[in-house]
Structures are given as structure tokens and as C-alpha cells.
């Protein structure tokens, strides 16, 4: 019986040699040409093997979502850049910035918009000395100050930055956006490595990873990738995210293990965490 088993397995093994039998001549040169072309043409982008079949509607919403996410990311980055790099302004300036439009009659007292009682109250609370005094001079003084602050986007310190190149100032929003992006990526990878999974979670994670993948590619093409270390991290992150996006819903533990191997082998988590500064920027 055992002999029969062995013989039968031998027959199976022999017959299996014809299963998906590859051609004798491997198309070495053609593939090498394609590899060189792909590497020359921004090799960071993985080959698009076959586009996954998607519902047109889903595609449209995906793009809308991506566009919205990109706009939100950039706007948040610029906003944070302005906020975090403005000169250390006194609190009352921040309150002043939220004040309603103030009308100053020529030579008269400032008139506050009646439908904004909160702003008036704030000013009264923080600036008791202002109440009852003519506001015209204060308003005239502060408006240029606020305007000046608006124009100093991403300048670290007004006095020190006067001589700094414009490029450094314009790079700060990208840095902030990159840190925020890396924080999100760290959150995704942490969630990906957690044990509790189901199909719904896999699907939402795939969408999340796709959004992050798009942002990663945007950042790779931006001044944020000027730093070689950060560019390498973004490149590795792109590959890992691409693998997660390609994972099917309900992927087996083995499938996820392969992606986790990529994360582990590239020390992606460690590098991500070291790239994200501790403190208030974490989890922006």
C-alpha cells in the first residue's frame, strides 16, 4: 500500500512538471530593459500590475476623498506652520485676531458689531484698561501688527529670520505636513500589526492606506523629500503602504506576515517614530 502511495505520488509529481510550465528561454533582455526604464522613470512607484476592478462610482468618490484629504492636509500644515512659527505673541493679540470687524469713525470711538458679544466680552476680560478709552489709536496700531503677522508665515523668529533665505521659510509648512503624515502612517502601521482583525477593518484599512500612499507620493515630489533620510523613509513607507493596499480583504495571517516582514526588515516603525518629534507635534 505504501509502495502504491509512493508510486502514485511519483506519478503526480511527474505530471505536475507540466503545470504552468515556463518557457525554455527566459526573456532576460526584455525584462532588464523594462527594469532599467522603470528605475530611471522614478523607480519608487511600484509597477502597476493590473488595475483592480473598481466600481466607477467608488473611483469617483475615492478621488474626491483624496482631493479633499490633500487639501485638508496642506491647509492644516500651512495653518500649523503659521501658528507654531509666529513670534511669541501675547494672548491678547490672539484674542484681538478673533475680534469682529471694528468700525472706527474718524476721531471717534470704535464701534463693535452688536452680534458678537463674546468677542467684546473677551476683550473686556483681558484688557480692562481698554474699556472706556478711545479705541481708535489702539485699533490703528494693531491692524498693521496683525497684518504683519499674517505675512510672516513660517518664519521662526522675526529678528533672526530677516536674513534667512526664503526657501527655509517655505519649507516649514512641508515639514509640518510631513510630520503629521508620518504620525498618521505610524498609527496605520500600528493598527495593521494589531491582532484583532475582520473584513470590515481590512477594508477601511485599505482605504486609509491608499490615502496615505497618495500623500506619501505627493510628499516625495515636494521639498519635504529634499532631506535624503526623510526621502528614504518616505520611499520605504511608500512600498509598505503599497503592499497593504494590495492586500485582499480577509487576508490570511501569512499574507499579513509578509507585509509585517517588510515593515520589520526596513525598521520602518523605528524610523517613523524617530522621525516624529515628541511633544505637541505628535498626533497633530
Amino acid at each position: 500500500m505504501t509502495n502504491d502511495n509512493d508510486k502514485f505520488e511519483e506519478i503526480i509529481r511527474s505530471a505536475a512538471q507540466d503545470y504552468n510550465r515556463p518557457p525554455v528561454n527566459v526573456p532576460r533582455d526584455e525584462m532588464w530593459t523594462a527594469i532599467e526604464a522603470a528605475r530611471t522613470d522614478r523607480a519608487r512607484r511600484p509597477l502597476h500590475i493590473v488595475p483592480p476592478a473598481r466600481q466607477p462610482r467608488f473611483t469617483r468618490y475615492t478621488w474626491m476623498g483624496l482631493a479633499a484629504a490633500a487639501v485638508l492636509l496642506i491647509a492644516t500644515g500651512v495653518g500649523i506652520g503659521r501658528w507654531s512659527n509666529s513670534p511669541s505673541a501675547p494672548p491678547r493679540v490672539a484674542n484681538e485676531n478673533q475680534k469682529p470687524p471694528t468700525t472706527v469713525p474718524p476721531g471717534g470711538e470704535a464701534i463693535h458689531s452688536p452680534q458678537e458679544p463674546e468677542a467684546s466680552t473677551q476683550v473686556a476680560a483681558t484688557e480692562p484698561e481698554v474699556i472706556g478709552t478711545p479705541r481708535s489709536s489702539q485699533s490703528v496700531e494693531r491692524v498693521p501688527h496683525i497684518a504683519q503677522r499674517g505675512t510672516q508665515v513660517a518664519v521662526t523668529a522675526p529678528s533672526a529670520a530677516r536674513g534667512a533665505p526664503d526657501a527655509a521659510a517655505s519649507a516649514v509648512p512641508y515639514q509640518v505636513a510631513t510630520i503629521r503624515h508620518l504620525s498618521n502612517a505610524e498609527a496605520l502601521l500600528t493598527a495593521f500589526r494589531s491582532d484583532s482583525r475582520d473584513a470590515k477593518l481590512d477594508a477601511s484599512m485599505s482605504i486609509w492606506a491608499r490615502d496615505l500612499l497618495s500623500n506619501t507620493r505627493l510628499l516625495l515630489d515636494s521639498p519635504a523629500a529634499d532631506d535624503p533620510t526623510r526621502a528614504k523613509l518616505l520611499g520605504d513607507l511608500e512600498l509598505v503602504l503599497a503592499e497593504i493596499v494590495q492586500l485582499a480583504p480577509n487576508a490570511t495571517a501569512q499574507d499579513r506576515g509578509l507585509v509585517e516582514g517588510s515593515i520589520r526588515n526596513g525598521n520602518v516603525m523605528t524610523r517613523l517614530r524617530s522621525a516624529i518629534p515628541a511633544g505637541q507635534t505628535r498626533g497633530l
Binding site: F8, N20, G235, Q246, L247, D255, L258
Partner: protein
């Protein structure tokens, strides 16, 4: 008897030298590395994918990724093992995405009942075996193809799939059992 280790050590040294040249951007070294390994990577990709176009895509992507990451190669394993780990990962992820293999997927129950009357004919055995292999789950199919068809050792399979060699043996054993089960009626006729 002592020649083998010497050759192995020399091969390792040559491999280290080749990798160093590749990292330094030597185009000829990159081509040499590619030529050394492309045949085996392509063959495995073709066995898994069953299509030339997909096999080419998987092979190309494997080498693109390898060249991008080769600076991170730590010589814990041979370069061939490392390359095959990338190759298998690329191929399996690609196949899952493409879902091409679904077109050929036939449930095991159907594979067992196909044309039982002409079981002795070899073409029929091959067709039914192909259907049975297609219907194996990925973990059994991959190990069966790598070991019984392409001749990889269990150590190589384990390194490529990130599993212990013992797990590879278990999967091969179970995969073969499923194939035997799928071809049971053919076996009876063959025995008589």
C-alpha cells in the same frame, strides 16, 4: 569533501563583493546580479502565475525592489534566499490583487468528479491535476510548487515564506494529501 565549504566561502565573498558594487551604483554589477538570479525568479513567478505577462511583471518588480533595498541586505541569508523572499511576496500579493487564478479555480469537489471514465489517459490526469493544484489554498499550492515542481528545499521555502522549515514540510504533506484525495478515483483505476 573539503572542497565544498571552500567553494561556498568563495561564493559568499564574491556575492559580498558583487553586492557592494551594486550598492555603489555599478551598472555592470547590477546586470550581473540580475543574470545570476533572474531565471529562477522568473520560473517560480511563472509557476505561480501561469502567464508570461504576469510572470514578467512579478520578476521585474522583484528586481526593482531588490535594487532599491539592497543596501539593507544584512547577509543573514544568501542573496538568492533574500531575492526569492521578495519574489514570492510580490507574486502572491500580485496574484491576490489580480485574482487571475480565480478564473482557473475549480472547487476540489468538482475536480474529483471530472471525467472519471477516462482516468487512465495521461492528458486527463494532467488536466485534472492542474485543476486540483489550482483549487489548493495558497499556502499548500505555493509549497507544493516550490518543493515538488521547482525543487526548492524546505529551508529555502521557509526563508522565502517566513515560516519554519517544519511548517513547510507539514504544508507539503497536507497539500499532497489533498491532491491524492482529489485524484482518488483516478488512483483506483490506475491501481487496477
Amino acid at each position: 569533501m573539503s572542497a565544498l565549504p571552500v567553494i561556498d566561502i568563495r561564493g559568499r565573498l564574491d556575492e559580498r563583493d558583487l553586492i557592494a558594487r551594486v550598492i555603489n551604483g555599478d551598472a555592470r554589477a547590477q546586470r550581473e546580479l540580475y543574470d545570476n538570479h533572474v531565471d529562477r525568479v522568473y520560473r517560480l513567478a511563472y509557476r505561480l502565475a501561469g502567464e508570461d505577462e504576469l510572470a514578467r511583471d512579478f520578476t521585474q518588480l522583484t528586481f526593482i525592489r531588490a535594487f532599491e533595498r539592497i543596501a539593507e541586505f544584512r547577509h543573514d541569508s544568501s542573496l538568492s534566499t533574500w531575492l526569492h523572499a521578495i519574489g514570492v511576496s510580490v507574486a502572491l500579493n500580485g496574484l491576490r490583487t489580480v485574482k487571475k487564478n480565480r478564473l482557473r479555480n475549480v472547487p476540489l469537489e468538482e475536480a474529483t468528479g471530472l471525467r472519471s471514465g477516462a482516468a487512465a489517459a495521461e492528458p486527463d490526469l494532467k488536466a485534472r491535476l492542474a485543476a486540483a493544484i489550482d483549487s489548493l489554498s495558497e499556502k499548500y499550492r505555493t509549497v507544493f510548487l516550490m518543493h515538488d515542481v521547482e525543487g526548492y528545499t524546505h529551508d529555502e521555502i521557509g526563508a522565502a515564506l517566513g515560516i519554519p522549515a517544519g511548517t513547510s514540510k507539514t504544508r507539503l504533506f497536507q497539500g499532497r494529501a489533498k491532491l491524492r484525495e482529489a485524484l482518488a478515483d483516478f488512483r483506483e483505476e490506475w491501481a487496477t
